[in-house]
């Protein structure tokens, strides 16, 4: 009897913990939303007088190496390189690093761009797997194709860094597309503030959009529900979270699909970490750590006007695999840099950003999932007031809608013209609907990532994606 009472008390206490946790998390999100609204408004105004196009011929613009790690990307690679060649940027080189693909990625590139093998000097500043060949074409002098032994995405990126010539580099996914002015806008973060070491751009879901040569030519709502929900999700994640964290110089992640880095800083920290699937987050956290440790002034920035389009997963299986990977990547990074947690030596990053990620982004999923099961159970047991349960449920849904709708307002404010009013309102319906099933499902996938951390932490999942419409 005493044991049962103890279990009962534990369940009741845990229920209150879950509720308090959810409310605190949502309040933090609302603060983020508010700060983001103010910042985006300020940036939008500032952009007006900046006249960024006038920088196109500026001597100050730093040349950029665009590194595309490719593993079995035969479907997209040629199209992607062609699209990148039309970028509105004065000096850039494209380096495609074929990480030992088993398909025709390399052959297609060599054939499409009339490339031939050359001998070249490589400055091995970061150890990588063996580079088996470098290909070049006189017709496309700013394109290099590197063929290397398989070593994973990080290894491919490190090889690209070694062979690159320019002081800034950006890592791009082979299945993403950059908007024409994206590089110019992002590089201005380095030009205007020489302390900038990393800058991330806004990644948007391309499903349903028609993108031709880096320009959005039309939007139609994607067919599948999960694609529609991802549109809302990406707006929320980028326009709310990243804008907020970058405003405190404690942004821990710059999307692997589009981030611009100061090459020397990445070399100084030893390049991308191998054998991790969260290399995009890990490198940024390591940069924070290194800069703080060495008392260097630096900035990690986010530019919401610099846009990269990516194809979101289209099936439940793929989205599950993607979210598990993201969660494992987060966990791996936090464990690797656990020493930064609540460590005042790392300033705002150590005191706020890292603990936030531990508590809300990592364990938040676990608390939420346990809550999903425990709260209805407690309700059945008669330990929870029905009225209170309904109010709590409605409150958490309402807060979720505020966040999603708030992000859509920011999106509508900053990127006028992407969707027409009808489409924009239609998307906001999904901001409401996603709270009934989709968000819970994603949380379960994240939880699964935590459980399968040890098993899956070194495996890469391949996601089936549609080709971009041209």
């Amino acid at each position: 009897m005493g044991f049962l009472n103890a279990v009962r008390s534990f369940i009741v206490v845990f229920n209150f913990f879950c509720m308090a946790f959810t409310l605190i998390l949502n309040i933090i999100y609302i603060i983020q939303l508010f700060v983001s609204l103010v910042r985006v408004h300020k940036h939008y105004d500032k952009n007006f007088s900046d006249d960024f196009h006038s920088y196109v011929d500026s001597e100050n613009l730093l040349p950029i190496s665009l590194i595309i790690p490719a593993y079995n990307e035969e479907e997209n690679i040629v199209q992607n390189v062609r699209s990148l060649m039309k970028m509105n940027y004065p000096h850039f080189e494209i380096i495609v690093v074929n990480d030992g693909s088993t398909d025709k990625t390399g052959e297609l590139l060599v054939k499409a761009f009339h490339m031939h093998k050359i001998e070249t000097s490589i400055r091995y500043q970061i150890p990588t797997e063996k580079i088996e060949g470098v290909y070049f074409s006189k017709e496309y002098p700013n394109l290099l194709y590197v063929h290397k032994k398989n070593g994973g995405k990080s290894d491919a990126l490190n090889a690209g860094i070694n062979i690159s010539r320019y002081p800034l580099f950006t890592c791009l996914d082979a299945d993403s597309r950059l908007e024409k002015d994206a590089l110019l806008r992002l590089s201005l973060e380095f030009l205007k503030d020489s302390r900038t070491v990393v800058a991330g751009g806004l990644v948007r879901i391309a499903n349903g959009s028609r993108i031709v040569d880096g320009e959005l030519k039309g939007f139609s709502m994607p067919k599948k529900l999960i694609e529609r929900f991802q549109i809302v999700e990406y707006y929320r994640s980028f326009l709310m979270g990243r804008v907020f964290w970058s405003s405190t110089n404690s942004l821990l992640i710059v999307s692997g699909a589009f981030g611009l880095f100061r090459k020397q800083t990445v070399i100084d920290v030893g390049g991308y970490k191998r054998n991790t699937i969260g290399e995009d987050m890990e490198i940024v956290v390591r940069i924070h750590r290194y800069m703080h440790k060495n008392h260097k002034k630096y900035r990690v920035k986010f530019n919401e006007f610099s846009i990269c389009w990516t194809q979101g997963p289209m099936s439940m299986k793929d989205i599950r695999s993607q979210r598990r990977r993201w969660q494992i990547g987060l966990m791996d990074t936090l464990i690797s840099h656990a020493g930064m947690t609540l460590n005042p030596r790392y300033g705002f990053v150590g005191l706020l950003s890292v603990p936030y990620n531990w508590i809300f982004e990592l364990f938040g999923a676990a608390v939420e999932v346990i809550g999903y099961f425990l709260i209805p159970f407690t309700l059945i047991m008669g330990e929870l007031n029905m009225f209170f349960f309904i109010i709590y449920f409605l409150l958490s849904v309402a807060l979720g809608i505020i966040l999603s709708e708030g992000s859509l307002v920011i999106e509508q404010y900053t990127h006028r013209g992407a969707m027409n009013a009808k489409q924009s309102i239609a998307v906001s319906v999904y901001a409401l609907l996603e709270n009934f099933g989709y968000r819970q499902m994603i949380t379960v996938f994240r939880m699964e990532g935590i459980i399968k951390y040890r098993k899956l932490r070194k495996s890469w999942g391949k996601i089936k994606r549609k080709e971009f419409e041209q």
Binding site: D45, F48, S49, I118, L394, E405, Q412, S424
Partner: protein, 360 residues
């Protein structure tokens, strides 16, 4: 009961916020559609007028079309900019290949529209960004009559506005005020480096005078930054200063001066560049090698060749890049490519692959 009441109030508040957000979203979306429709409409009308202006059979009919275009613009800077964009689209086309003719046409439109007045109104706006934008556009239009008004904005607390106003003065060639602005930001090293570069590039007056003015009161950091920037403009009047700096002990000044001297390519600088090529700092060595490559002497070539096996990668890379511009003999080339120095050979090959047709 108390918690429940608070929860209900919280829920009602959330519903209110959701309602506001949905209305805001809907209104923004509506405004966006209205804006797009308005711009499309304006573009269509502008295109008709612009075609009328460009393809008018007689000068009098052109004047009439320009008047119609001015009426369409009606003092709106956005419409004016769309009109100029529409005209410029025809640049280089079959009937409008002559850029001078195009420029005259835009001048005729400007005469009717008076864009200076449109942008001048912006200087009185409450929005700092509008004021900044107005400054830049006025400078582009050469509206020197607003110089004093713009100059007042250089002292504004808002950094972006001050920058835009100073840049406008720069485009107007105002030596005194631009120099004063550069001096005012000289202690902010993260900011001033970029601005020196930008301002000297856009300055329409005498760069020499601007530099002299800055040198009068600047700190050593600003001096070095200006010298580095001036290198590419090859101002002979500063050569003595560069030579002294290149031979001196001030490390930062030495880097700047060697870089500036290297840009000239004068044979009389060879000795000083040869000495710099032996410097312990690789930045100086690299600049010196770049400078030596501009001299077509056998001693300079020998030093650049030695640079191919420098201990620092960047120096080797610079040497490999610049040696291809020198009068290098087939024997020399063969010696480097087949030599024992693997890096020198590889670096040369990499540069040759990029510059010479090596296929087949």
């Amino acid at each position: 009961m108390k918690i429940e009441l608070i929860s209900v109030i919280g829920l009602l508040l959330c519903l209110l916020i959701i309602g506001i957000l949905y209305i805001l979203h809907y209104r923004l979306a509506e405004l966006q559609d209205e804006h797009i429709a308005r711009i499309d409409n304006i573009r269509q009308r502008l295109n008709i007028h612009v075609e009328g202006v460009l393809f008018a059979p007689t000068e009098s009919s052109r004047q009439l079309e320009i008047q119609a275009l001015a009426a369409e613009i009606n003092g709106d800077f956005e419409v004016y900019e769309l009109a100029i964009q529409a005209i410029e689209q025809y640049k280089g086309s079959e009937h409008h290949a002559d850029p001078e003719k195009m420029r005259r046409l835009i001048a005729q439109v400007n005469e009717q529209v008076n864009p200076v007045e449109i942008y001048a109104k912006m200087l009185d706006s409450n929005d700092v960004y509008h004021r900044g934008y107005g400054c830049r556009r006025l400078a582009e239009l050469g509206a020197t009559e607003y110089r004093e008004q713009i100059a007042e904005l250089v002292d504004d607390k808002h950094r972006d506005l001050a920058y835009n106003a100073a840049m406008a003065l720069c485009q107007m060639g105002d030596t005194e005020r631009v120099a004063a602005y550069l001096i005012s930001i000289q202690n902010d090293r993260l900011y001033s480096g970029r601005l020196v570069n930008e301002f000297f590039a856009k300055f329409t007056g005498s760069r020499q005078e601007l530099a002299e003015k800055v040198f009068e009161t600047c700190n050593p950091y600003m001096r070095c930054t200006v010298i580095k920037t001036l290198g590419e403009y090859k101002i002979d009047a500063f050569r003595d200063m560069y030579m002294q700096g290149a031979a001196g002990d001030d490390f930062q000044l030495k880097i700047a001066c060697v870089k500036a001297l290297a840009a000239f390519g004068y044979p009389e600088d060879e000795q000083i560049l040869q000495m710099a090529a032996q410097d312990k700092d690789w930045v100086i060595r690299s600049s010196a090698i770049r400078g030596l490559s501009r001299l077509h002497t056998s001693t300079a070539l020998a030093t650049v060749k030695r640079g191919l096996s420098d201990k620092e990668w960047w120096v080797r890379q610079t040497a490999a890049q610049v040696i291809t511009n020198m009068d290098i003999s087939a024997k020399d080339l063969e010696e480097i490519l087949g030599g024992y120095d693997r890096f020198a050979a590889d670096a040369m090959k990499a540069v040759l692959y990029r510059t010479v047709d090596t296929e087949g």
